[in-house]
Structures are given as C-alpha cells and as structure tokens.
C-alpha cells in the first residue's frame, strides 16, 4: 500500500496547488461603473437595464452589437455595447451583470448574465393568487 499512498499524496497536493492557482486566475473583479471607467483589465459591472425613450436597448446592425444602458446602485449610467448572442431572457430581464472593458466611455462586453424574472412577474392575472385547499 505504501507506493499507492505516496502516489495519492502527490496527486492530491499537486491538484490542490493547481486549483488555488486556477482559482485566483479566474477571478474577475466586481466593480461599479465609476471604477470600471478607469480599469484597464476586464471587469464585471452589474446594473439595471434602462428601458425608456432615448435609452432603449436596440440592435446596432452596423456594429452588429446589442446596445443598451445600465444604471448601477450609485445611479451612474453607462452604455453597454454587447457583442454576442443576446441572452434569451434579456427582453424581460430587469438587471444584468456585464463582463467587459470600458473604452471611449462605453462598456464593450462579451458576456452578460441576465437575471430571469419569475414568469410574468408584475403582470396581473386574476389567476395568479394561490390558495391551498385541504392541505395540512
């Protein structure tokens, strides 16, 4: 069993060290818009997707990019230029976390995480209310 234990110890310790290294490597800092504007490495910014006249999300077919504005917790706003397939839930999503880099005052993003709203949230259906009958 001795050889086996030595090999096991080797594998586990290597895996552990390698994991720590990979772990710290894959971390993307999470910042607000103000910090994102001065960052030279990719960051993640989270914000509310604005949907009002003048700031509506639209598809820019010249750049082949989805463009929209987000507003962070400090009420600061930035335009996001997203080059990638539009997430399925984007149209109804209230918020997004965009991964990317700010250039010329715009956040060029390559990945969006979109929070799915629960189905038909906010729309008033008379059947929405649940009631239990005969439960314990």
């Amino acid at each position: 069993m001795k050889t086996a234990y030595i090999i096991a110890a080797l594998i586990i310790s290597t895996a552990l060290g390698f994991t720590m290294w990979a772990f710290s490597n894959s971390m993307t800092p999470y910042v607000n818009i103000k910090q994102a504007r001065v960052s030279s490495t990719p960051v993640q910014v989270r914000g509310k997707i604005l949907r009002k006249t003048g700031r509506l999300p639209y598809y820019d077919n010249k750049e082949n990019a989805l463009r929209f504005w987000i507003e962070d917790a400090n009420k600061e706003q930035i335009e996001v230029v997203y080059k990638g397939a539009k997430p399925e839930a984007f149209d109804t999503a209230p918020e997004t976390a965009a991964h990317g880099l700010v250039r010329d005052g715009k956040l060029y993003s390559d990945s969006l995480v979109v929070k799915c709203p629960s189905k038909y949230e906010g729309e008033k259906s008379p059947y929405q209310k649940k009631k239990s009958e005969g439960t314990t």
Binding site: M1, K2, T3, A4, I7, I11, I12, T14, A15, F18, T19, A22, F23, N25, S26, M27, Y30, R46, R51, K52, T53, G54, R55, Y59, N61, K62, N64, A65, L66, Y82, K83, G84, A85, K86, P87, E88, A89, D91, T92, E95, T96, A97, L101, Y108, D110, V113, V114, K115, S118, K119, Y120, P126, Y127, K129, K130, K131, S132, E133, G134, T135
Partner: protein
C-alpha cells in the same frame, strides 16, 4: 352556490393529498414492520405485511404521479401547477404529458416515481439484506411525499371573490388557458432527458442503502456483487442523461456549445463522477479485495452529492444575489417553500450525516488488504489512481459549484468561478485519466512484468504517435483558420479565444497531447475489447466504455479549442456575405404579418428566417436536382404573443439551425432578433424629420406633414398625407401613446399605437403594407420624425447572425454513445454474475475473480 364542476375539483384536490399521505403512512408502517421482522423470528405474516406495505407506499407514489400526469394532460387549469406549466397551444400529446415534469414539483414527482419502481427490484433481489436496505429505502419515498405535501402540485387556483370579479370583467373559472410551456422545453429532448437523468438520480439510492447496510451488518464483501449492476445502471443512465442535456442545450439554446459549467449542470456531473469512481472501486474489491473503505464511502457519497446538488439548485442558495449583486447562474431557479426545504435539509443531514458518521465509526474495523497496490505497474494501482482522480475531480467540481455559498457563509464577497477555472483544473486530471485508460488494458493484476508491458504497448504507442503527428499539423491548420477570423482589437471575443490568444503554444500542446492520449485510450481498449468480445462477449463492456471515453476526449478537446465563430449581418436584397467560405444571402421571412404590427411577423415555431447558403465548393458539386445551394432556417418566434399586452412585452425565442456534416457542424444562430431597417432621407442618420406643413418626395410619393394632433399628457400624433403618381390621396395618423408608469429623466415613456403603424392601401411587390412609424414629436416646434417604408422606398430586414464552425463535434457524440453502451453491457454482465449469489455464501471467504489478463 358552487358550480358542480368546481365542486368536483375540490374533491379531486383532496384526492391528490390523500394519495400522498397514504404513501407516507404505508412507508412508516413498512419501516416498523421491517424492524419487527429484523428483531424477531419472522413469521410469514410479518414478511408479507412488510412487503405489502412497501408495495402500497410505492403504488401510492406511482398513482400520485399518474394522477398529476392526468391533470396536466387533461388541462385541468384550476390546478395552479397545471395552469403555470401548460397551455392550450400545446398540441402534441407527448409534450402535453412532458409538461408534467417541467416544474419543480413535477421533477420531485419524477424522482419518486423512479425510486418507487426501482424499489420493487431492490426488494425482490435483496435477499438477506432486505430488512437492512428496505427501511432506509422506503424512508426516502416518504420524505419525497412529504416534500410534495408541503410544496404541492395539487394546489388550486383560488376563485375570486365577487368584489374582485368586478375588476376583471372577462373572468371565468376555471381558467380557460394556462401560461404555457416554455418553448425551450418544447423539444423532443424534453420528453426524454428529464426521465433519463432522474432515473439515474433515483438509482443512486441503491448503492447508498447497500453501503449503509454493509456497514450495519459489518459484512463488507457481500454487498459488492449485489450493488454492482445498480452502480453500473446509475453510471450509464446518468451519463446518458448528461449527454442528452448537453445535446439539448447545443441544439436549442443557442449556446454554440454543449457544456457551460453551470451549477445545474455541475449538480448532475459530480454525482456521476462519484458513482463512476464507485464502479471502478467495486471492480478492484471484487477482483483483489481492496478499496473496501473507499467503496463504502463512495456508495454513501454519490447519493449525498446528488442531495447536495438538489439543495444547491432548489434552495435558492445560488439564486440569491450576493452583496455586490453578482448573479450566479444562467439557469432560472424556482425556489422551494421553506417548509418543503426543511425536509430537503433534513434529508441531507440524516442521510449524508448519518451515513458518514456510521462510516467513521466502522472505519477501524474495516479490513485492509496490505498487498494491494504495492507494485506501481499493476492493474490494482491503475484503478486505485483512477478512482482517486475521479474523487479529486468530483471534489473540485463540487468545490467550484459551492464556492458562492461557502464564501457567503464566511462573510466574503460571494463569487463564482468562471468556466475557465473548470477547464484549467480538469485539463491535467483528464490527461492523467486518458493516460490511465490507455495503459490499463496492458497491465495485469498484482504485478506486471515491465518487459511484457512495454512490448504490448508498442503497437498502440506507435499508432498514438502517428495520430499525434497528424494532430500537430491539423492543429496548425486549424490555428491558421482561427487566426483569420480573430480580431485582436475585438473585446467581444469568447473566453476560449482569449485563453487561446494568451497562450497559443500551451493551448496547442494541450490539444495535441489530450487528443493523442484520448486516441491511445481508444485504440488500446478497442484492441482488448475486440479480443475479449470474441472470447466472452459480455466481458467487453468495460473496455468498450473506455473506448467511448477516449473518443469523447478527442472530440471535446478538438471541437472546443478550434471552433470558429464569426458575426455578420445579412441584409435583405444585398449581396451574400461570406463566412468560412460559405456565402449566405437573405431568402425570405416565412412568418405571417400581424395586422397592425407589420415589422413584427407572427412567428410561431414552424416559421423561420430563411437564408440561402452556397457552400465553399459549390462549383464542384454534382448537382442532383440542380441545387448547388441550400436553405438554413434559424428560427425566431414570439411565444407569448396572445398574452402580451404590448409589443415590448413580447418574449422572443431563437433557435439555431445546425447543418450537420461528417467532420463538422455549421451552426447558424441569430445573434439578435432580426431588425427591420427603414430607409433614410439624404443626409439623415435615422428616419425622416418633417417640419409642420413640410412636403417631401419619398420613393414615388409626395409625403406631407399636414397637422399635429393629440391630447396633452396622453397622446401625440401626426397627420400625414401621401400622394402617389396615380394622384390617389392617402392619409396616415401615426401616434404615440404616453405611458404614465415609467418616467425617468423627465422624458415621458411613450409607445407607438400599433393600429396606426400600417398603411394597408400601400402594398409593395412582396405584399408588405406601407409602414409609418412615429419616432418623436418635438412639443415646441412640432417637428415630427418618422420612419417609413413605402413602395419604391422599402425598408429591409437585417439579420444579425452568429455563425460557428464546430469541427469534430460528431466525435463527441459517438464517444458518449459508445461509452453508455459499454456501461450497459457491463451492467448486463454483472446482472448475470449476481444471479449466482446465494444468501448462504457470505460465510465462505470471498473468491476473487481472475480477470482476463493481457497474457491470455
């Protein structure tokens, strides 16, 4: 007065709960009777009663699932669950039934459904283990029933009170239609993926109960042959289920990939790693008698991991946002209610905690075989290392998935590792696993003569080197091809590409070594599988599974590294765009126009954007029917168009088109919804701006802005007059409705009145009506900006595409299929072997089988 129909449904509702309670009651009865049986000299009556109680409990659960299936199929919309998960637009009977497991409660029901069925098999085959395994087994069923009582699919939609009905004039009860099944689930994989993967999950319970039984009995050998068929069944069905999920995502979700290291995917992946580790450990124990403690641990751990995964994905632990608002998963999580969650946590604590505690207590009394693995080049060692690697991989994936939770518990900012983390840590592990699989056919149990070993390895080694050299050149070409589409200034490049750019030498080295080792694994195991198959067909299963894994490793490393993605916009009526040598041109939109919404064709699932593709070597193609081109139809459709009140509330769904070839897939996805581009007047960026009373010549029409109308705070409109060459005068009244709800930055939120967009009197050649779209009106000067599409000056569709060239993707699918078939074959072998188990044999020392040795 209640209507009779409503009265019936109240009764029916109670029926669902009664069946669930009957499951719980008979389960408890069964546990009690089994305990009595265990501690007293069993009478025939006790035996029959114990088994009958289990049967009744299991049948109750099956009946409950069948009843739920019936309610969903029969569209009983008075049930909240039914109302939420299906709808009248669901036609195909299989989808109507499959909607049963589209929700949280339904998936718990599916889990219990399989557990109940597998339980009969366990009870029938358990022999002297029956009084140990069955009480634990049936208790699981009871907890599942309790979860469904707390989080019930049998709740009714509440009827409104008369006062509330007054607010909803069109109110009817029961609801006439449901919310419908999410279109991404309306796919044939939906009908087969959840049942398969939940069968795999449910079957994990069997190794768990046997491991616990073995610990209680202090009989650590006899459970091995009994549990082997079940472990292989779990391994095959979970593996198959994972594959189906991946294929589903690849085909319909438009991910351009099949695996994203998402928590939901990981939660089904780590139990698979544990159960596959157990399968290998059991083989060692059966053949050489070692790894007893590891196997008992893995038997308990595999099922516990499934429970942990269920907890992570159902509890909302990962759905929460952290302090920074990091969003943790792309999957939508529906959270369990806290009372149902309580049972889930209880289950986790009792089964995982209890099992592990028992294992720790018994740890010292479990025999260790000192001779195992004392020789580095032996099959014992190879299997020992492979099990260890699988455990390490399993822990890493578990760790990565639970990171957000662990960090929030330690009051750090929760953060989730990106897929690059998993790709990086899995690379060395996969390399070692591929090497291990590649050499294990040529090592014997206990000890191998190094000279013999090396001699046997010569042929596979040479073949591997040949393949490796081929890969070096292939990768070089693939890299050139990748470089052509690679724009270093583009921040929108994918993660794979960025990783590749950062370290192209390392990347190429990894791909070549990984695929070469995968090839070694495939070739070595095929050689042995062929030989074993000719002697004893059933014994070839394990080797065949290894062939599949080797092939899959080649496929994954190549297809993920050398996929190429390019984004283009194809315009209606413009020359074709060239991507990877394919020329792509707009053919037509196949949807019907919605009246009043002419730029929003009424897409349902069978409609599509049609594009004509000319393949790279079109000139050389021997045209069969004269067609050197083909059509692709990435689909784009609106799935709540009947329910959404306004156009901006439409939910749109995009499905990619995959053109399959032997060596690659040509994957055409819509990068965004198609955009209707309006023509612009000279010198203007967007639309056409008119001053009041101004006239302009647009196309073959003279268009004049006649007057502005509206109501302050409610409506702003403009009256336009168009005069064509035949002197026909047409009026249009585009208007903007001012919505009160959202109002930021002093700008009113306005939406176009849909019925005023279309000008039906004007039709162009393709039958599209004239369109006038009011962008804005300046309240002070009354200047109006409009977008127009008129005959002679038509707007056109812009189709944003994301096209991926995926090489060798079929290799992945072939590998997985072979691996699953191999595991199933191995299961058949172990079932045949398990038939010979007699309950009395456990007193004799276990006989270790002699495996097919390479010397033979």
């Amino acid at each position: 007065m209640k209507e009779p129909a409503q009265e019936l449904s109240q009764i029916a509702d109670k029926l669902g709960f009664s069946i669930l309670w009957s499951c719980v009651v008979f389960a408890i009865l069964s546990i009690v009777l089994y305990i009595v049986w265990h501690f007293r000299t069993p009478s025939r009556a006790i035996k029959v009663a114990s088994r009958a109680s289990y049967a009744l409990s299991a049948l109750s659960f099956l009946a409950m699932t069948a009843y739920l299936g019936y309610l969903v199929y029969a569209r009983k919309y008075q049930y909240s669950y039914v109302w939420q998960h299906t709808g009248n637009d669901l036609d195909f009977w299989w989808y109507r039934l499959a909607a049963t497991w589209s929700g949280q409660e339904g998936s718990f029901a599916l889990w219990g459904f399989w557990a109940a069925i597998i339980g009969f098999l366990v009870m029938w085959k358990a022999g002297k283990y029956e009084t140990y395994v069955m009480p634990i087994y049936v208790s699981m069923l009871a907890i599942l029933a309790l979860i469904l009582i707390k989080q019930s699919p049998f709740l009714l939609v509440a009827p409104l009170t008369p006062a509330e009905i007054a607010l909803h004039p069109n109110y009817v009860y029961p609801p006439p239609d449901g919310l419908g099944l999410n279109p991404s689930l309306q796919n044939y994989w939906m009908t087969i993926h959840p049942p398969t993967i939940f069968f795999g999950f449910a079957s994990l319970l069997v190794p768990f109960v046997y491991a616990v039984a073995a610990l209680m009995k202090k009989d650590y050998e006899d459970w091995v042959p009994r549990v082997m068929p079940y472990a292989l069944l779990s391994c095959a069905t979970l593996g198959g289920g994972l594959f189906m999920g991946g294929y589903w995502a690849y085909e319909t979700q438009g991910w351009h990939g099949f695996w994203a290291w998402d928590p939901v995917e990981n939660a089904s992946f780590f139990p698979w790693l544990a159960i596959t580790g157990l399968v290998h450990g059991l083989v060692v124990q059966k053949s050489r008698g070692g790894m007893v403690r590891t196997n008992l641990f893995l038997g308990i751990f595999a099922y516990s991991l499934f429970l942990i995964g269920t907890f992570l994905t159902r509890s909302g632990a990962l759905a929460q946002e952290d302090a920074n608002g990091q969003l943790l998963s792309v999957h939508a999580f529906a959270n369990l209610q806290s009372s149902a969650l309580f049972f889930l946590v209880l289950m986790l604590a009792v089964y995982w905690g209890g099992g592990t505690l028992l294992w720790l207590i018994r740890l010292r009394s479990i025999p260790v075989r000192p001779t195992l693995g004392d020789h580095p080049v032996s099959r014992d060692m190879a299997l020992f290392v492979s099990v260890l690697l699988m455990i390490v991989a399993c822990l890493l994936v578990t760790l990565g998935t639970t990171t957000p939770l662990l960090r929030s518990w330690t009051h750090q900012t929760p953060w989730q590792p990106k897929s690059s983390f998993y790709n990086t840590v899995m690379l060395p592990i996969t390399l070692m696993i591929a090497l291990g699989i590649g050499i294990v056919p040529w090592v014997a149990w206990r000890r191998t003569n190094p000279a013999t070993f090396l001699r046997k390895l010569v042929v596979p080694w040479i073949l591997m080197l040949g393949f490796g050299f081929f890969m070096v050149f292939w990768a070089r070409n693939a890299q050139f091809a990748l470089e052509q589409v690679f724009d270093p200034t583009d921040t929108g490049m994918t993660e794979t590409m960025r990783a590749w750019k950062d370290s192209r030498t390392l990347q190429r080295l990894s791909v070549v070594s990984l695929s070469a080792l995968g090839f070694l694994a495939a070739i070595s195991n095929s050689m042995l599988a062929y030989r074993v198959f000719r002697a004893k067909p059933l014994n070839a299963g394990g080797w065949l599974a290894h062939v599949g894994i080797g092939v899959m490793i080649i496929g994954i490393s190549v297809s993920n590294t050398y996929e190429r993605t390019q984004r283009v916009v194809v315009m209606e009526g413009e020359p074709a765009k060239e991507v990877f040598g394919y020329k792509i041109a707009f053919e037509k939109m196949t949807g019907k126009l919605i009246a009043g919404r002419p730029i929003n064709p009424d897409y349902d699932m069978s409609n599509a954007v049609q594009l004509r593709v000319t393949p790279p070597n079109a000139e050389n193609i021997e045209a069969k029917d004269g067609a050197k081109t083909f059509l692709v139809e990435p689909r784009w459709f609106v799935h709540n168009k009947h329910k959404a009140p306004t156009e901006d509330k439409f939910e749109r769904m995009r499905w990619p088109h995959i053109d399959k070839y032997f060596g690659h897939d040509f994957y055409v996805g819509l990068a965004n919804d198609p955009v209707f581009v309006f023509p612009t007047a000279k010198g203007e960026e967007e639309g056409v701006t008119f001053q009041l009373k101004e006239k302009k010549r647009l196309g073959s029409y003279t268009v004049g802005y006649f007057e502005q109308f509206g109501e302050p705070g409610k409506l702003m409109g403009a009256h336009f007059v168009m005069v064509g060459e035949d002197a026909q005068v047409i009026s249009a009244y585009p208007a903007l409705q001012i919505l009160r709800e959202e109002n930021g930055e002093g700008m009113p939120n306005m939406s176009m009145l849909p019925k005023n967009i279309e000008i039906p009197e004007l039709k162009d050649k393709s039958g599209r009506p004239g369109i006038i779209y009011l962008d804005k009106i300046d309240p002070a000067t009354k200047a109006a900006t409009v977008r127009m599409s008129l005959p002679g000056m038509e707007g056109k569709w812009a189709i944003p595409l994301e096209i991926t060239f995926k090489p060798w993707i079929n290799v992945v699918w072939i590998g997985i299929l072979v691996a699953v078939l191999g595991a199933l074959l191995a299961m058949v072998r172990r079932i045949v072997e398990a038939r010979t188990i007699k309950d009395s044999t456990s007193l004799t020392p276990p006989k270790f089988e002699v495996w097919e040795t390479p010397e033979g």
